[in-house]
Every structure is written in C-alpha cells, then in structure tokens.
C-alpha cells in the first residue's frame, strides 16, 4: 500500500509539473477513522496529500461529469472506477484526450461498518499494515484480516485490474474469476413474490430522498433527473412508500447495462439501504440476455442503446403463446 501511495504522488507531481493535466483527483486522509476524502490537487506541492489505503471507497469517476469539461484531469481509478470511465466514454460524456487515468490494481476496499459491528464502543484510531486493519477504541484494541471485511461489491469483483489506464501503478493483481457473483441473487429469486415485496418495501421504506445514491453514481449524470421534473411530475417529492418504490426501481433501471457494481451508491446511503440488490439483478439479466458487462470495452455501445435481431422475446406473446418465463 505504501509504495502504491508513493508512486501515485510521483505520477501526480510529473503530470502537474509537465502541465499535462490541470488537476489530479485522488484521495486524502479522512478526518475520522476508516475514512478518506476525495481531494482535488491543483498544485505540485500539494501532491503530498494523496494517500492510498483500503478506505479509498469513493468512485472518483463521478466527478468527471460534474467538473468543467475543458479541464485536463488525471483521476486515480480502481478497477471499478476505470470501468465507469469507460462507460462515460462510450456514452460520449467525457473526451478521452481530456482524461488521464492513473489505474490502480485494486485489493478491495474495507467495509468500516462491518468492523464497527465487531467492536464494543467507538473506533478512535485505525491503521492499515500489510493486509491487516488495526483499530483502537477507548476500551479495546483489535486486529482484523482485510479479506474478511471487504465490501460485498469487492468480494464478488471480477475486474480488480483497471480496464483502461494511461499509467498503471504497481503490478496487476490476480482476478478472482471463480466467485459466483450472482449466487445471492439466484437465492433471492427462489423466495415467494410477497416475501420479495416485503423485503423490497422494508429496504426502500428507510429512504429519505437525499439522492446520495444518485450523486455518488458516475453514470447518473442527467441534467434534470426524472424526480426533479415538474412538467410532467412523474412522482411526488415526499417519502410516501409508492413514490420511494418508483424512485428506486427507475434509478436502478436507468443503470441497466451501465452499472459497474462499484457499490458507491450503497456506501453513500446514510440509511444503509441494500441498493445493489436491484442493480445486480439487472446486471445479471444484462449478462444473460445480452452477454454484456459494463465498462470493459470502449468500442461496444451499452445494450439498451442498440439491439440484436436474436434478442430473447419469450416473455412477449407473439402468437406462439407465452413460454413460461424463467425469472
């Protein structure tokens, strides 16, 4: 971790010194334990702020559609972040020549909430030492193995190495190709519709419409989101269950074939709603129906922007009767 951090600072210094970029977006140390904060480095001598550890959980690609388009930007990108950049390139939201991707083969990010549930009292200090997280509180000191406390999105991640980069920091890591990433989705599908509806209503019932999931997601960049439209007003603005349901269904649906499952939405949600249970179902269908995974190839358009004559249509009554649709 330490030499990755050192290399990031060097690369950032070179890029800024050579005027190749106007700014480098990376991570700096957080003000509270187990956290980092995105940082915009404009000047060479600030590169010392840049850090790298297992709490760099934010997907920095989300800033690329929020900053001034003509700025030349370098951005620190994990595997998932780089896939989001590819998704943005494919959709023409960022110009390739304006972006310098500092790719980092990712070892997975640590879920601080999982660790918090395993200790008595508040974590006051946290350090990371080759694969171990040491946390200290007023009445405890504990060590946790990083692998056991990764975010669920990192545990099922099959693309730890960046799919696009101008600079690669360190060696590529071994991809975790064996994991069955949709095992829990398949398990969940076995439940009865009413059970699934109860779980869905319980989860989205906690939503407070703060839109952190939308703002944290790189591929959620509409000028005017459908929830902000007043003419027509699709859904009302309150926390009524039916409006919350439609908000979450359509937000997930709009990420079909574009979501790289970085987990940024779930991490930003203050109410810890299981948001990925919707997006990963869609990612599974997109993989089954269209054999497509978002953010891997800048040349192939996302599935819902194109079509194929052989697409499945068993769920459509086209005269030969509707075959039993597998869920």
């Amino acid at each position: 971790m330490q030499d990755v951090q050192k290399k990031i600072r060097e690369e950032a210094r070179n890029l800024l010194a050579a005027r190749k970029v106007d700014l480098v977006i990376g991570f700096e140390k957080g003000t509270i334990p187990c956290r980092t904060s995105p940082v915009f480095v404009h000047k060479e001598d600030d590169v010392g702020k840049l850090v790298w550890n297992s709490f760099c959980e934010m997907n920095l690609a989300t800033y690329l559609t929020k900053i001034d388009k003509n700025k030349k930007v370098a951005v620190v990108a994990k595997g998932c972040d780089s896939r989001s950049i590819v998704a943005l390139l494919v959709e023409g939201q960022v110009k390739r020549e304006k972006i310098t991707v500092i790719g980092i083969p990712c070892q997975g990010m640590v879920d601080r909430r999982k660790i918090e549930r395993k200790v008595e009292g508040e974590i006051l200090e946290a350090e990371e030492e080759n694969g171990k997280i040491l946390v200290k509180g007023s009445s405890f000191e504990k060590v946790f193995k990083k692998e056991d406390y990764l975010y669920s999105s990192c545990r099922v991640c099959k693309h730890r190495n960046p799919s696009i980069y101008d600079i690669l920091i360190g060696e590529k890591v071994k991809e975790n190709t064996q994991v069955d990433e949709y095992a829990d989705v398949i398990e969940y599908e076995k439940k009865s519709p009413d059970e699934r509806w109860q779980y869905f209503e319980k989860e989205i019932g906690r939503c407070i419409r703060c839109y952190a999931c939308r703002q944290a997601c790189p591929t959620c960049y509409c000028e005017e989101c459908f929830v902000d439209s007043s003419n027509p007003k699709w859904i009302d603005k309150g926390v009524d269950l039916s409006d919350l349901a439609i908000w979450h269904i359509i937000r997930a649906y709009h990420q079909a074939g574009r979501c790289v499952d970085c987990g940024s939405c779930e991490r930003a949600c203050p109410m810890q709603i299981n948001l990925r249970f919707l997006t990963r179902k869609i990612n599974k269908e997109v993989k089954d129906y269209f054999n497509f995974e978002a953010g891997l190839d800048p040349a192939t358009p996302p599935p819902l922007a194109t079509f194929s004559v052989e697409d499945r249509q068993d769920f459509i009554d086209s005269g030969e009767g509707v075959k039993e649709t597998k869920l």
Partner: protein, 332 residues
C-alpha cells in the same frame, strides 16, 4: 433530584401509554429511529443518537398541511393526542430551541410545528459516552445540558436520576419516584465530568460570523465545494436545518398540499421558472449552507445554527468535516 430504577422506569412508561403516545429510539438494522413504541423495555445499550434528528417529530419529512376537494379545504394542523419523546440527546434538544426561532416567530406562527411542540413532553437522556465527532460544548451545550428538555435522565448503571427541568415535565412524574441519595448524586456528577472530558474536539466559534462577513467571494469556497457531490444528507440529518418545499399532490381538483423537507444543496431549491438560478453550482450552495448557519442565522436570531451533534461529519459520503471547515475559516 429524584431517582427511579430502570425496571420501574419501564413500568412507569407503560403506565403512561394510556394517555400518551410514547416515541423512543428503535433500532432498525443498526440505525436508530424515533418511533412510537407499543411496549417499552428500556433504551437499547448501543444507542448513541438517532440517524434522523428528533426534529422530524415536530417537523416531519412529509406532512399534509391541508386536504381539498372542489375548493373545500380541510386543514390538518390539529394533533391527535399527547406525546412523550423519550431518549432525546441534549444537543438535539438545544436544536429544537433554534428551530423555535424560525417556526414560532412573532409575525407568522407555523402552527403545524407549534401544535406538535406544545403537545409533546421531551425526556432527554444525558450522554455518558460522547462520540469523537461530538463537539456540543463548543456551542455552549454539553453532554448533560438541559436547555430544551422537560426532564433529563442520567443513567447511573441500574437506575436513572430524574432531573425535572420544566413543570411541563414535572407534572407527569407521579408516585414511584424516590429521592436520590447523596452518593448517587455525587456519582452522577462524576459521570458528568468524565463525559465532558471525553469531548476532545473544541472548535472556536467566536469570530466565525465576522470572518464570514468579509469572505463571500473568497476562493476558499471553490476549494471547499469541489469534492461535494451535492446530495442532501448534511441538511436532512442536521437537527437545525429547517428548509422545506410545498407541493400539491392531487388528482384533478381533489388532493392535498404537502410540506416536504428540502435542501439548499439541491439546484432545484432556487431554480426560477425563467431558468435563472441565483445559486447555479455547488460552490454557491455550499457557501449558502455555511453562511446561513454561521452568519445569517446569527444576524437574524443572535444564535449559531449548529449544536455540534456530528451527524453531518459521520454521514457525509465524501467526509467533509464541518470542524475542519470552521477551523479553516478562522485562518483566512
């Protein structure tokens, strides 16, 4: 100072359920919400503070103001039944007093809010274990402060000391309350001092308002708001934020007018029908949030609109820390 064992406390609260709705911190998936409880088994040991501040009891996130059918209006400001809000932390109680400035103003009184305030008794729970993100003492509050509370409970292991703050609180304390012994009062005093020492972060507030007067166009705001992704967490979870939106929810001419929480961090907040937006980017909006709490509110109501509860620090997805912001402002 009275005293009651925790077991009796549960029985006492149960007895009040006949004529009060009891709202207490309920643990849902590790997050605490103030919810009506049918049977009260004491406050969960893990309870530090609620995720959504208790302001939502007086100023709900979505509230029907009135219903209408073909022009006939039926207002819904009356509140059914009396309520007890149990387990409020001292910082949030102080925040309600700040909200009173806005909602219970002398020129226009927001009776939706004031009706709920009047018919709710607030029983606070002193903070024996403040968090590292708590800095209530920087604003004149403290883990055991009583402003805004009707009763303050102090947890001394197997019982509570009951400190009656207002007679509104006093009138519900019937029967079971014995006088606390000197030993118990001294123990409470010891816990109080330890709690106050546990609050490490001290933020200097004097001079912030004056600094902000002169720095409206300072590049500080660009640097601060660059990393902000523009969500509404810091305002929705803040106990002193009170901005709201009014919307009609209707089918043809039958429907209701609803008040929802709103946030100055959203572009829609000030977007005008002509398309002009006085606060077009995140910079102006972040500046408005800080200026309103630490400058405009001070000029209008002579108090800083922050109680140091730490919710915005813990919940900001990009870890923008208001303590760091306030320290930086003093250096400009």
């Amino acid at each position: 100072m009275k005293k009651i064992s925790k077991k009796e406390m549960n029985k006492f609260i149960q007895s009040l359920m006949a004529d009060y709705t009891i709202l207490a911190p309920v643990n849902i998936e590790g997050i605490f919400f103030f919810k009506p409880v049918a049977d009260f088994q004491g406050i969960d040991g893990e309870y530090k503070n609620s995720k959504k501040p208790p302001k939502e009891v007086f100023f709900p996130q979505t509230e029907t103001m009135f219903k209408y059918k073909d022009g006939k209006v039926e207002s819904t400001e009356k509140v059914k039944g009396k309520r007890i809000l149990l387990g409020v932390r001292p910082c949030d109680a102080r925040a309600n007093l700040l909200l009173d400035n806005v909602f219970a103003g002398e020129d226009y009184e927001d009776i939706y809010y004031t009706n709920k305030r009047e018919n709710t008794i607030i029983i606070g729970l002193a903070c024996n274990e403040p968090s590292s993100t708590c800095f209530c003492s920087s604003f004149g509050g403290g883990p055991f402060s009583k402003e805004g509370l009707d009763i303050l409970l102090i947890d001394i292991k197997d019982s509570y000391l009951v400190d009656t703050v207002t007679d509104k609180g006093g009138k519900i304390l019937t029967g079971e309350f014995k006088e606390a012994t000197d030993k118990e009062v001294k123990l409470a005093e010891k816990i109080k001092n330890e709690a106050e020492k546990k609050i490490k972060s001290r933020i200097r507030i004097e001079g912030i308002k004056e600094k902000l007067d002169a720095m409206f166009d300072d590049p500080f705001w660009d640097e601060l708001s660059e990393r902000c992704i523009g969500c509404g967490i810091c305002s929705y979870l803040c106990p002193t934020c009170h901005c709201f939106d009014i919307q009609d929810e209707a089918k043809n001419s039958q429907g209701r007018r609803v008040r929802n929480w709103d946030s100055c961090m959203f572009p829609l907040f000030t977007l005008q029908a002509s398309g002009h937006n006085p606060r077009p980017t995140g910079k102006e909006r972040m500046r408005q949030r800080i200026m309103h709490k630490f400058n405009y509110f001070v000029e209008n109501y002579k108090e800083v609109a922050c109680v140091g509860c730490g919710r915005c620090i813990i919940n900001c997805p990009v870890n923008i820390d208001i303590r760091k912001v306030l320290k930086k402002i003093l250096t400009i």
